[in-house]
């Protein structure tokens, strides 16, 4: 192809083709459902349909995440003039029935079905995930048919870079990686930096255990991430971009690489984006299993092929980043918000959410809940709505104990704060944080000191070792927590733990160490009595007690 693709033609052709199908089956092929066997099910459906449907009126579409991961594999059947049907826990037998009866035939299969009226679905507000479960992530045409790359075209053809920065600033979008820094301000920093080469980095190094928002976005709608990156590049003058993805996410890497190839071929990326003189190249860079690489200076070191250790800021990356040049690091979810903000306008976006936290947030809702999976909700929704209504409450009639947000850098929110609105400021006030979006629900059977120990073990293993407070502090804090959890801790262990927590928070070099004590602080604040119950009273302590702290440390290797 010589020139760039005509988005209008491609979109029309694709829409016509889709309208031609009498029935369409959408199969979730994200990592969660794939692990449960979705790949084989998609193939089985496609085989039957190709064999039996000679008129070509049925289509089987592999899509990104539907969200309700705990009920996978999921298959949704849509037909003109009929209510869509969402089948859950689809196995080979059910897949065969769906293919023969519902796709080739026209009668609903008597199998397990999820109501699409569940609050889990109806309470969502989908911006970033609007294409999830709708388009085939491996086909650029499908993305274009759903409005893809229109914002990029409009920006390149009709807007100045400053104009794009202004729209993002006015929208009130804030970084979705955890800290919530205003995106428009960051873009402005990079745009005003003067250098021969500026870089953009999309941070897809989602290391928080219990979080998979970014993975899902990359797997489900890779072109949206690329379009957001290209818009950021156009606005700030960065012509070379990297997308840094964890090696643990092979499917996301594969889909992104294919998306980059297709976008290049269509001249939506590359030397001349859409025929303009805007040049923009994207490369995927793969991590190798180091949590600290989510920290922006460590991430840059890793992109340069070095040990992923952080450096002191300032200078900030927007002044001196990759190879000493101005560099902007943005979370994947933040970038995925950008295309729709430009298409629908800053005011539309600013009307979503709360005055200080605008827009939506994607959460990975996991732990002790009926419905677990991925949700996108407007900022400001209460935790109670998320846990009780969307999550469907806790199975087995157990009582809610706490929700943990922000992973190893965050904290626990107990039952009395369930009505707190979920936004940056409120969560921080409760001693937790938005984090990247992991939300783990714990019931009454979970021991909170044990959770604190779990996160501390994580931080101990993931500490890069560059600064002493974090390197030695996490080891000692874990040792104190271990003693307490194993029932051999004393009052003074708790005192030492608390004082050490303050020291490590105040003196560590990067966010990993500074926030490592957070789970301890927050569990102590809300569940101190659980710690006290585990302590051995001083008077009964005979000093030479030979209680062995039977501890195993999974993940301690490497």
């Amino acid at each position: 192809m010589a020139g760039p693709i005509d988005l209008y033609d491609v979109a029309n052709a694709e829409r016509d083709a889709q309208a031609h199908y009498r029935r369409r089956a959408f199969v979730c092929t994200s990592t969660g459902c794939n692990s449960a066997g979705a790949g084989a099910i998609k193939q089985a459906l496609a085989d039957v349909v190709t064999e039996a449907d000679k008129t070509g009126s049925v289509q089987v579409v592999p899509t990104g995440c539907f969200g309700l991961c705990s009920r996978g594999p999921l298959v949704r059947v849509e037909a003109r003039g009929e209510e869509p049907v969402l089948y859950e826990h689809v196995d080979d037998e059910v897949a065969d029935a769906i293919a023969n009866e519902h796709l080739v035939g026209a009668s609903r299969v008597d199998a397990e079905v999820v109501s699409l009226d569940l609050p889990f679905f109806t309470r969502q507000e989908r911006v970033v995930l609007s294409n999830a479960g709708v388009i085939d992530p491996d086909r650029i045409e499908d993305y274009v048919a759903h409005g893809g790359y229109r914002a990029l075209q409009a920006a390149v053809e009709t807007m100045t870079p400053e104009g794009v920065v202004k729209v993002i600033a006015r929208s009130g979008l804030r970084g979705r990686g955890g800290a919530g820094y205003p995106t428009g301000r960051k873009w402005d920093h990079l745009a005003s930096a003067v250098a021969e080469q500026k870089y953009l980095v999309a941070n897809g190094d989602e290391g928080d255990p219990g979080a998979y928002m970014d993975r899902t976005i990359m797997e489900t709608d890779p072109h949206r991430v690329l379009e957001g990156m290209a818009l950021a590049g156009y606005a700030t003058g960065a012509s070379q971009a990297y997308i840094y993805v964890r090696a643990e996410y092979p499917l996301a890497i594969e889909r992104l690489e294919r998306a980059i190839r297709e976008a290049k071929r269509a001249k939506l990326l590359g030397r001349s984006v859409l025929g303009s003189d805007f040049r923009f190249d994207v490369e995927v860079r793969i991590g190798a299993g180091a949590f600290v690489c989510g920290e922006e200076t460590a991430l840059m070191a890793s992109i340069q092929g070095e040990r992923g250790t952080p450096t002191l800021r300032p200078p900030y990356p927007t002044e001196k980043g990759l190879w000493g040049q101005p560099t902007m690091i943005q979370n994947v979810e933040t970038l995925a918000n950008v295309p729709m903000i430009l298409e629908r306008g800053a005011e539309w976006f600013a009307a979503l959410g709360t005055p200080d936290s605008k827009g939506t947030k994607v959460f990975a809702l996991t732990g002790s809940l009926e419905n677990t999976g991925l949700i996108e909700v407007p900022m400001g929704i209460s935790l109670r709505e998320i846990v009780e209504e969307m999550g469907g409450g806790i199975p087995g009639g157990k009582a809610f104990k706490a929700a943990q947000s922000g992973g190893p850098s965050g904290g626990c929110i107990p039952a009395q704060y369930l009505d707190t609105p979920v936004d940056y400021e409120h969560l921080q006030k409760l001693g937790s944080m938005m984090g990247s979006g992991g939300l783990v629900v714990m019931d009454e059977t979970t021991s909170m000191p044990d959770i604190a120990r779990f996160y501390m073990e994580f931080c101990r293993d993931e500490s890069c070792g560059k600064c002493i407070p974090c390197r030695a502090g996490t080891v000692k804090m874990h040792a104190f927590l271990d003693r307490i959890c194993e029932g051999v801790g004393r009052e003074r262990d708790l005192q030492h733990l608390e004082s050490l927590c303050h020291t490590v928070r105040a003196t560590s070099m990067c966010g990993l160490g500074q926030s490592a004590p957070n789970p301890v602080f927050s569990t102590l604040e809300h569940f101190r009595e659980e710690y006290l119950e585990l302590l051995v009273p001083d008077e009964t302590f005979n000093g030479s007690s030979a209680v062995s702290a039977a501890t195993t440390t999974p993940g301690g290797a490497a």
């Binding site: 979080a211 090696a247 793969i286 299993g289 993940g555």
Partner: protein, 188 residues
């Protein structure tokens, strides 16, 4: 230097065609020192692990001191310096899996095979590993058995599955390929 595996006729001067795969990757990345991590991924993909020979080779080709190659390789958790066993179980120890009992699974496997996490049994039949969140939290607890992700597992179920897999290749009289699950994690 340790001995170099010699597979007879091969286009690579070392006689080991796996180095040829590595050479291709080096060429593709234009011997860029920045791409050291990518190269190490490729090397681990073809060799199964990073031996000293391979690290020396990568260092020479990229004109990097061995200390840098070694420093980077040992920094990242995914790189391993020992050949994996015939079978492997990687237990996810992310938060969601932890809350649902992943620790019990790790301990049960450790007891059953007498290895700690990251270790391989003396007969090289089984490697136990743990991972920090595989991002399949909806299926918690998750265990990757010989490269295949299994969800909603418990202690007995995991032990049974591992033993079935190991018994299967005893019956075949051959050992199942573990290179597959290495390749799954690491792209070539």
């Amino acid at each position: 230097m340790a001995e170099r595996t010699n597979n007879g006729a091969s286009s690579h001067p070392s006689g080991d065609e796996r180095f040829g795969v590595l050479d291709k990757a080096l060429k593709r990345t234009r011997y860029s020192q920045d791409q050291l991590i990518e190269i190490l991924h490729v090397a681990q993909g073809v060799f199964g692990y990073l031996s000293e020979d391979v690290l020396v080779y990568v260092g020479r080709e990229l004109k990097l001191p061995l200390s840098r190659v070694f420093g980077v390789a040992t920094f990242y958790h995914l790189f391993t310096f020992e050949a994996p066993g015939d079978h492997s179980a990687t237990v996810c120890t992310g938060t969601a899996c932890f809350v649902k009992g992943a620790d019990d699974i790790v301990q049960a496997l450790a007891r059953r095979f007498g290895v700690a996490s990251g270790e391989t049994t003396d007969d090289r039949r089984f490697t136990l590993k743990t991972a920090r969140c595989l991002g399949s939290c909806g299926l918690a607890p998750v265990v990757v058995l010989d490269g295949a992700v299994r969800g909603h597992l418990d202690v007995d179920g995991t032990l049974a599955e591992v033993e079935t897999a190991m018994a299967a290749d005893e019956a075949d009289g051959g050992d199942a390929a573990t290179s597959e699950d290495v390749a799954e994690e690491v792209r070539v």
